[in-house]
């Protein structure tokens, strides 16, 4: 997906930080953390009142004797060194006040590097395969490590999720951004430009990620009534970059809420109340939004708690999609996953 000739340009520090902050919910906390109290053994945060947090990282040998033990936020754990790692990882995690644990067999990461070299060895120098395809090779090697017991993780996020095939990734990508098309995102904070982004795909791979400085040279200053002006931006992108396949224009808080809520119907609601404008809206997004609205409706009808406004808000969208249920099902089958559920799961992370 990402090409070797990728250009990323036109961001100042603020617009870039804003953009990344949308997708990295804990960014602000991480940047504003107190400096470690000592260089001796970095502890990121003072004790947080016994709340489970962070990751326990252990390295063991072939006899499952722990050689190295660290808590990602509290530093070294000398008491675990020499102990056996052959125990229930859930109990181990709880005992150390962590939220997750990773146990790595000594030397396994070097083996992983060799597996990656093998996986890429068949790739001719001129191959146009992108960075994401290369990452899939690495992920498959990680999966093998897990299967061989050289990497143990609790909770295991990979347990029920297969590493996607190149074809599945490609199909998803084709739905989101077909070749020779652009994707536009412009976010506003009470009508002031917050950050913006244009992504272009060419020859099958993303070759341009443009930020506000560059976009402004195409459009002139953004601002004012974005619910109306977004058409100007789209036309400018079409002139300078490529026809726009998908445009997302929104108040930044609306996007944050939709990305993180995980509530069924949230995306559909934001679009319906016009805190978010999607223009143009490709078929796959219409279908996905319909699916989201239907999920929201079924959630409400099964729960009956405080959902009346949402039903009303989502009504117009639901009317449009009710007749397209077959398409909705086919989208999920096509992609192999529900995009909103995956997004929410990825983005709803806690502070660590």
């Amino acid at each position: 997906m990402i090409g070797p000739d990728l250009r990323v340009e036109g961001f100042d520090a603020e617009s870039w930080t804003h953009l990344v902050g949308i997708f990295m919910p804990n960014l602000e906390d991480r940047l504003s953390r107190e400096p470690p109290s000592s260089d001796a053994d970095v502890s990121l945060d003072p004790d947080d009142g016994g709340r489970a947090r962070g990751t326990l990282i252990l390295v063991d040998d072939a006899e499952r004797r722990i050689l190295m033990a660290r808590h990602s936020m509290e530093g070294t754990l000398p008491g675990l060194v020499g102990e056996s790692s052959a125990r229930d990882l859930r109990d181990l995690t709880a005992a150390q006040g962590a939220r997750r644990v990773v146990v790595i067999r000594e030397g396994a990461l070097d083996g992983l590097a060799d597996a990656l070299a093998d996986g890429l060895a068949h790739e001719p120098p001129s191959a146009r395969s992108g960075y994401v395809t290369q990452w899939l090779v690495l992920l498959r090697a990680v999966r093998q490590m897990v299967e061989h017991g050289e990497l143990r993780v609790w909770p295991n996020p990979l347990a029920s999720v297969p590493v996607p095939s190149n074809r599945m990734v490609q199909r998803t990508f084709d739905q989101v951004l077909p070749d020779d098309r652009a994707l536009v995102v412009a976010l506003f904070d009470r009508d002031e430009p917050y950050t913006s982004l244009v992504v272009r795909r060419r020859h099958g791979l993303i070759d341009l990620v443009a930020g506000p400085d560059l976009i402004t040279t195409w459009t002139g200053p953004l601002g004012g009534d974005w619910r109306r002006d977004h058409r100007i931006l789209n036309r400018a992108v079409e002139r300078h970059v490529a026809p726009v396949h998908l445009g997302l224009f929104a108040e930044v808080d609306a996007v944050r809420e939709a990305l993180r809520s995980g509530e069924p119907g949230e995306w559909a609601r934001q679009v319906t109340v016009r805190d978010m404008v999607i223009d143009p809206m490709p078929r796959s997004v219409k279908v996905a939004l319909g699916a989201d609205a239907i999920r929201g409706l079924s959630h409400i009808t099964s729960d009956l708690l405080g959902g009346f406004d949402l039903v009303r808000a989502a009504g117009p969208v639901l009317d449009r999609v009710r007749s397209r249920w077959t398409e909705i099902r086919s989208l999920s089958e096509e992609l192999g996953f529900d995009p909103f559920i995956v997004l929410a799961a990825l983005l709803r992370r806690d502070d660590d």
Binding site: A40, L67, D110, G130, L138
Partner: protein, 667 residues
């Protein structure tokens, strides 16, 4: 009558001497000509000059100038690639130039700026213990990294230097041009694959490994004895592929430990040799007569790069700085190491913005990093990036040559450095803490996270010992952890006591050791006899500890002559009492103290105290009350605020901010 041109540009501390009458502070701003339309060059250069720097810096990317084997383009086909024209435009705008022709440059370029045919040449690729290529996982494309030992790589590099040298050599200052500074290669290391057993097992590296063993031990027989191995020929003396291979749950013996330390030392030596070879290649291509530098990446204490040894092949070695404000201690530690080890702390890359691949840095982070570095002794820097480009965010000047609002802050800072002649000042510190290479090497070899190397752990905000084994491996304590922890605790205690200090590398020139009244050198069960000799030679008073060593680097008994007092560095009570006694015994000055966790750092010139930094590294606003020994007035060089006091300067400090105060001391 016109004076004859100088034979060469030279480095004087953190200044470049251009001729008998003119010096230049070592400050520049980065701008990448090939990434910008030529019609934008002049605007960018003017904006850069207006930001207060006298030099423009640029890489020269081999892969851009040789897109296909043997097809060179220095502007003949693509005007963006006209390096010579770019330098000439810079000269027309009154800017000197600092050029970094690699061969490796990174610069967020695919293949780190190397041509595709170079990285895909099997004869050039570095090798893992199993003989496979070593892949760097880095956007926008993973690729096999070159071997620093590969003769084919060095031959190709010499050819590149000849090509780029034809453009650069006529533009060197001594020949009438504006190029006053050159860099040899870039961020030397094993291309971020710096785990102890990641590489390099290339056949040319193995030849050098055998030579290293012969130099270290003297003969095959001696090597066999040191490694407790049954080598019959040198070909049997293979490098280790992991720590304690074949030892199951038992303590490694002297032979295994010696082999490991030999490998760690060899990995440093190979990098040093590679830089030396490249430096020679540049000279042979006519790139001579101006100083050369090298930049070491983040995570230098966990890296196989040996800063003092690199300094034998280039005129100055610096460190690159990209930090969030919360990494205050890392910024401070790194600068104190540079100041103590090189004598002229310089940042070849002081981040303004960053690549888009990592956790974002705000403008405030970049500014904090710069001021913290300056506070602890940084004397020169290269703003990287001054002018925007692709695969970057947050440069001070956009790609159209327009100053962003951040450029105002950088302009004020540069003008303040000029106004105070900051590059000529010095931060007085009479205490040095030695970083002993043998323990750093030992720690690297006991690192068990493989490619998530000690250097990586340090670079992401941890320490170089975070991934080390935690057991004692048969010694009285886990030395691989304790050397770092003991030094860090001592540094913390000195900071709390208001006693300025520096770090000095154990391989630093002896005059760097001699520059201090007191040298604290950690020592454990084993130690390097050569280091001990240097401790016995230095004019500084030496304190060792926590224990006197009894074994050498082959882990055999060795009679170390006492070189000074022994202090248990692991005992906080003893350490604090010792610091208290040192203050009187060595007449250590505690300049302008302030209540912790605030810090101060004082810089003096020939005529007395000149600049005082007041630092608030915490996330809370604070009031600083700086103690004075005489009435003083001070002007904040960035905000313009003025403070006066008889016995105390009082000022508010916003969270994670630093004030740079020019002092006006009343007589």
């Amino acid at each position: 009558m016109r004076s004859s041109p100088p034979v060469r540009v030279t480095l004087e501390g953190a200044s470049l001497r251009l001729d008998a009458d003119r010096t230049l502070p070592l400050r520049s701003g980065a701008m990448h000509y090939w990434r910008l339309a030529p019609e934008r060059w002049r605007d960018g250069l003017r904006a850069l000059k207006a930001m207060g720097v006298p030099m423009v810096e640029t890489y020269a990317p081999w892969g851009v100038h040789e897109p296909e084997p043997g097809q060179w383009d220095f502007g003949q086909r693509d005007p963006r690639k006209d390096l010579g024209r770019f330098l000439d435009v810079a000269a027309e705008e009154g800017l000197e130039a600092f050029v970094r022709p690699g061969p490796h440059i990174n610069a967020e370029l695919t293949y780190f700026g190397l041509p595709a045919h170079i990285v895909h040449d099997p004869a050039i690729q570095a090798r893992s213990p199993s003989g496979r290529p070593v892949i760097l996982v880095f956007p926008p494309r993973m690729f096999p990294v070159p071997s620093h030992a590969s003769q084919a790589y060095h031959r190709a590099t010499r050819h590149w230097f000849e090509q780029v040298g034809a453009v650069l050599a006529p533009r060197l200052k001594p020949r009438g041009g504006n190029v006053v500074l050159l860099q040899v290669d870039n961020e030397v290391g094993y291309f971020f694959r710096n785990g102890p057993f990641c590489q390099d097992y290339h056949e040319d590296a193995l030849v050098r490994w055998i030579e290293h063993l012969e130099r270290t031990h003297g003969s095959l027989e001696a090597t066999r004895a040191a490694h407790e191995a049954d080598y019959t020929t040198w070909a049997d003396a293979l490098p280790p592929k992991r720590f304690g291979e074949g030892i199951h749950g038992e303590v490694p013996g002297p032979g295994e430990l010696t082999l490991q330390l030999d490998w760690a030392a060899f990995q440093e030596e190979l990098l040093t040799w590679a830089i030396g070879t490249m430096a020679e290649g540049m000279k042979d291509a006519g790139l001579d007569g101006v100083p050369t530098i090298h930049n070491v990446s983040l995570g230098e204490q966990g890296l196989q790069a040996n800063v003092p040894k690199l300094g034998e092949h280039v005129d100055l070695v610096g460190l690159d700085y990209y930090h969030p404000a919360r990494e205050h201690r890392a910024i401070k530690r790194r600068t104190l190491y540079l100041d103590g080890t090189t004598g002229a702390a310089y940042a070849p890359e002081l981040g303004i913005g960053a690549p888009p691949w990592f956790t974002p840095l705000a403008h405030e982070d970049s500014l904090y990093t710069a001021l913290c570095g300056l506070a602890y002794g940084l004397r020169g820097y290269n703003h990287y990036m001054a002018v925007d480009r692709d695969r970057w965010y947050g440069a001070a000047i956009d790609s159209k040559g327009r100053a962003r609002r951040e450029a105002d802050d950088w302009g004020r800072l540069n003008r303040a450095l000029d106004a105070t002649a900051f590059h000529t000042l010095r931060r007085v510190a009479r205490v040095a803490l030695m970083i002993p290479r043998e323990y750093a090497r030992y720690a690297r070899q006991t690192h068990v996270l493989g490619p998530l190397s000690p250097s990586t752990m340090e670079a992401i905000g941890g320490t170089p010992v975070d991934g080390c084994r935690g057991d004692d491996l048969g010694f009285d304590r886990p030395i691989q952890l304790r050397w770092w922890q003991d030094l860090a605790r001592l540094a913390q205690a000195l900071t709390a006591a208001g006693v300025p200090y520096r770090y000095v590398d154990s391989d630093a020139p002896i005059e760097r050791l001699d520059a201090h009244a007191l040298l604290v050198a950690p020592s454990y069960t084993f130690a390097d006899p050569a280091r001990w000799e240097r401790l016995a030679t230095t004019r500084a008073e030496v304190i060792t500890g926590p224990v006197a060593p009894s074994r050498d680097l082959t882990f055999r008994d060795h009679a170390f002559e006492p070189v000074g007092e022994t202090l248990d560095l692991g005992d906080d009570v003893q350490v604090q009492a010792a610091i208290h006694s040192w203050v009187e015994r060595f007449e250590l000055r505690r300049p302008s103290p302030v209540a912790p966790p605030l810090e101060t750092s004082l810089h003096e010139g020939p005529d007395g105290d000149r600049v005082l930094f007041v630092l608030n590294p915490t996330t809370e606003p604070r009031t600083a009350k700086v103690s004075l020994t005489r009435p003083t007035a001070a002007v904040d060089q960035l905000s313009g605020e003025r403070f006066e006091g008889e016995r105390e300067l009082e000022m508010t400090m916003r969270a994670q901010t630093i004030r740079m105060l020019a002092l006006e001391v009343s007589s």
